[in-house]
Each structure stands twice: as structure tokens, then as C-alpha cells.
Amino acid sequence: MIELDGVGRSFTVRHKTGWLRRGTRLVHAVRDLSFEVAAGEFVGYLGPNGAGKSTTIKMLTGILTPTSGRIQVAGLDPSRRRTALARRIGVVFGQRTTLWWDLPLKDSFTLIRHLYKVDPVDHRKRLAELCDVLDLGGFLDKPVRQLSLGQRMRGDIAAALLHDPPVLVLDEPTIGLDVVSKAAVRGFLRGLNAERGTTVLLTTHDLGDIERLCRRVMLIDHGSLAFDGTVEQLKATAPDETSIEDVVTRLYTRPVQ
């Protein structure tokens, strides 16, 4: 479903070197990244801040064009066929909403129906399902800016799934949520993956997400893949550590080869 082959993305960063002089420096956010995610998998994508997680997500969704390598998502090259891919992929950014700030949630959903050209009957059915499972009924009429973070996140997830995509990509979907909201989001994602067979890739800093949801974990550090395997294999990399937090801390802080 998702294939990356030798993908890299670098940015030129300008910085001051004197009063007026500016130097440029090439920063590799992601380098030579290759992995594959099969249909129906539930994959967690871990990494310390600035490791290249969001850059990867943005390349998978076509927002950023990779500087090298090849990407295929749902059979398409994201940067070249971005709008075609948008119909086959759902995207959630935990840090910022993709909904319209001043519009009621309901109107946002209607807009999305038109943007994706979803059939009205299918849309109504899908919306009713999502409202039911994500418990959106109480705040459909409220403008998005008035929603609590937990409500907004559920709204965002519903919005990403209205066109019933086979792939769902989430960038920190549980950031800032309380335990109850986290449980609701996790339960929903697990059900989505199990019942509809949706392929899910999520980035997170919450290892609870990884332990409770992901069968497979990928860990990125300094722009390249440092680990790829099951949660058990991840724990086995440091058998003397008791908690998964300690295992990951060890992976994050080990010296760069």
C-alpha cells in the first residue's frame, strides 16, 4: 500500500554569518529511507522530535516533494498525482485541524462531501456511522473553533474518513488528549483497521498508542530508519529494560553510527 525506495528530502537553511552576509547550509530531514507497508497493516512510526517523522508524512501525502528516491501510495506517486491520491487517502494532523475554523462541524462535512464528490446517499450513511462511533452528535452544530481538543480531534478523524479511503495517515492523533479521549480514539482506530481493513500509519510520542494499537513499529532517527519490527522485537532489543519507555529512550539516546 505504501512503498518508499531510497527517499530523501533536504532543505537549504539560511543563517546569518555576518552583518549582512548569509550562509546556506543543506539539512537532510530524511535520507535514504526505504520501507513498505502492506494493505491492512497497523504501523506505528516513532522517532524523537526533529527526526523526520512529519517530513515523511508530508511526502506520503504529496505536500512535500522528495528531493530523491521514489514513493508509491495506493499505487500513485504522491507529489505528481496529489489530487488523485487525495481521494484514496485520509490524513489527520493532530497539531492543527484540517477543518474550517469558523464553520460548524456539519458544514465542514458538507464541504468535504463536495470536495471529494461523494455520493449523497453514501455520504449520509457514512456520516451517520462515524457520528455514532465517534460520538459527534452533541457538537455537530458548533463552529470548529469552539470545540474542545478531544471533540476537534474526533471531528478531524471523521472528516478524514468521510470518503472511505483505504489508507489512513495520522500525525500525532493523540497529542494533548486526556485518557478518556485517547481511549476513544484508539478504540475507533483499532475497530477501523480490524473491521474495514483500512491500512493505518500513525506517528506518535505516546508509547501507549504503540503498545495498544500497532503490530509493527518503525523508528526513525536522524532521518533514517533505526528499527523496523514488531513491538516484541522492539522490546527484545534491550532485554534488561522493563518498560517500553526505557527501551525507546535507549534507542533514541544511543550514539549515531
Binding site: S54, K58, S79, T83, A86, Q95, R96, D107, L115, K117
Partner: protein, 257 residues
């Protein structure tokens, strides 16, 4: 299209405010024409043109500019969208971000300006002593004008992919160009007119085709066939703008997180 309707509906929740803003923009732009009337109360001609002729040039450029502004004026807000991260949200939708940006917060008040310019144009046409068999050029020049101004706007937007911090550079050409074409170009210096003809082809918005409609010799002595070059200039500039926009999109760097 439906996005636009939704925004109008959102704004219509405050009907008084909407009406005031529409009337306001009608009145404020009406001051432009007051300035022209004051000038003509002191002199019989401006750059060799009579009052109805100047009103004709003002009206045609005004309608082109107002319609382009109404439909695509938002495209120059690109840097704001990039900075706030809303541009990422547009890129994950299956509709071009250009269209999404154009209709973002589409409001009814933008009709005020169009109405004002159209009123001036109609008054000018009733008072103008011009060869009627040449009137076919008027809708064509307004249409080409809309394309030209939209293209300049798009170029302005595309520049902001690289210069995120300098949206004002684009304004010099868009709003500056709108102001420039409100008066007969013969009131300006020769070099400026040549630049507006051959570099940023704003002279084709109303000046060159306007000379044809009014059956006037070119005060600068530029060739007669230039008067029919509006559609060519519009097409050429539109292609340049589309290319620049695509190049900018591939170079897009997104923001952190």
C-alpha cells in the same frame, strides 16, 4: 463553487454587517471616480482624453480588476496560509489549492466594487460618442483583462512560495497595476507605458484595446496591430503564471511539526 456559497452563508449570519460592507466598498471605490470628476472640473482633458473617455477606460479596467479580485483576489494571501499551516490542509484535498484559496472566505462585499465599476462603465458608454461597430471589443477586453490581472495575481502568489516574508512585492504589481490602468496611460512617462506594454502586459487590460474602441491614434506611436494583441498577451501571461505556480508548489517547504 459550493465552497463559495458556504462562505456567503457563513457571512450572511450577520446580514447587517454584510450589507454595510457591500455598500462600504461601493462608496469607497466611488471616491476614485470623484477624484476623476474633480480633475475634470479644472481641466477639459486628461492625457488628451475627454471625461467620458477616461470614464470608459476607468470602467473597463475597473470591471476587469473587480471581477478578478472577486474571484481570485485571495490567491495573494498565500504567505498567510503557508505561515499558519492551513496550506497543508488544502494540499490534502482533491481540489487544486488555487481554487480552494480563491473561494476561501468568499464574501458578498466583493460585489460592491464590481457594481461600482460597472456603473461607471455604463454611464461612460451612454455619454460616449464612439463608433458602435467597434463595441464587440468591449466584452473581449474585459475578459482578457480579467485573465491578465488574475495571471499577475497568480504570479504574485507563486513568488510567495519562495519569499514567504514579502507578500507586499506582489501587491505592487496587482493593486499597483489596478491603479495604473485607471487613467489613460498617456498621462504617464513613455518608459512606464512601454514597460506596462511589453514586460507586465497590463496595457492590454484597457489601454490598447480601448484605443481601438475609441478610435484614437496611439499617443506613443506604437503599432496599430498591438490593439488586437490582448488575447495573445492574456494567454501568454496565463501560461507563465501557471508554470510559475506549479514550480512554486514543487518547491513548497511547509512549516514545522
Amino acid at each position: 463553487m459550493l465552497l463559495a456559497v458556504t462562505w456567503i452563508r457563513a457571512a450572511a449570519q450577520y446580514p447587517l454587517s454584510m450589507a454595510m460592507l457591500t455598500i462600504g466598498s461601493f462608496v469607497v471605490t466611488g471616491l476614485d471616480i470623484a477624484v476623476i470628476l474633480i480633475i475634470f472640473s479644472h481641466t477639459g482633458s486628461l492625457g488628451g482624453f475627454t471625461l467620458p473617455e477616461v470614464m470608459f477606460l476607468y470602467g473597463t479596467s475597473g470591471v476587469s480588476f473587480a471581477v478578478a479580485d472577486m474571484l481570485f483576489g485571495n490567491v495573494d494571501k498565500l504567505s498567510q496560509h503557508v505561515k499558519s499551516g492551513t496550506f497543508d490542509a488544502m494540499l490534502i484535498r482533491p481540489v487544486s489549492p488555487f481554487v480552494q484559496m480563491a473561494v476561501d472566505r468568499f464574501t458578498f462585499q466583493r460585489f460592491g466594487r464590481t457594481a461600482q465599476a460597472a456603473t461607471v462603465l455604463i454611464i461612460a458608454l451612454t455619454r460616449l460618442d464612439m463608433p458602435w461597430q467597434r463595441a464587440w471589443m468591449i466584452p473581449l477586453m474585459v475578459l482578457c483583462g480579467i485573465v491578465l490581472i488574475t495571471a499577475v495575481w497568480t504570479l504574485g502568489g507563486a513568488i510567495q512560495f519562495i519569499l514567504t516574508d514579502a507578500p507586499e512585492i506582489a501587491n505592487a504589481f496587482t493593486y499597483g497595476g489596478g491603479q495604473l490602468t485607471q487613467y489613460p496611460l498617456s498621462v504617464y512617462g513613455n518608459d512606464l507605458v512601454r514597460a506596462a506594454t511589453f514586460i507586465v502586459p497590463l496595457a492590454f487590460v484597457n489601454w490598447q484595446p480601448g484605443l481601438f474602441v475609441l478610435d484614437r491614434p496611439d499617443p506613443l506611436g506604437l503599432p496599430y496591430w498591438l490593439r488586437f494583441l490582448g488575447p495573445v498577451a492574456a494567454l501568454a501571461l496565463a501560461c507563465v503564471a501557471a508554470f510559475a505556480w506549479r514550480a512554486g508548489l514543487r518547491r513548497y517547504r511547509s512549516t514545522g511539526s
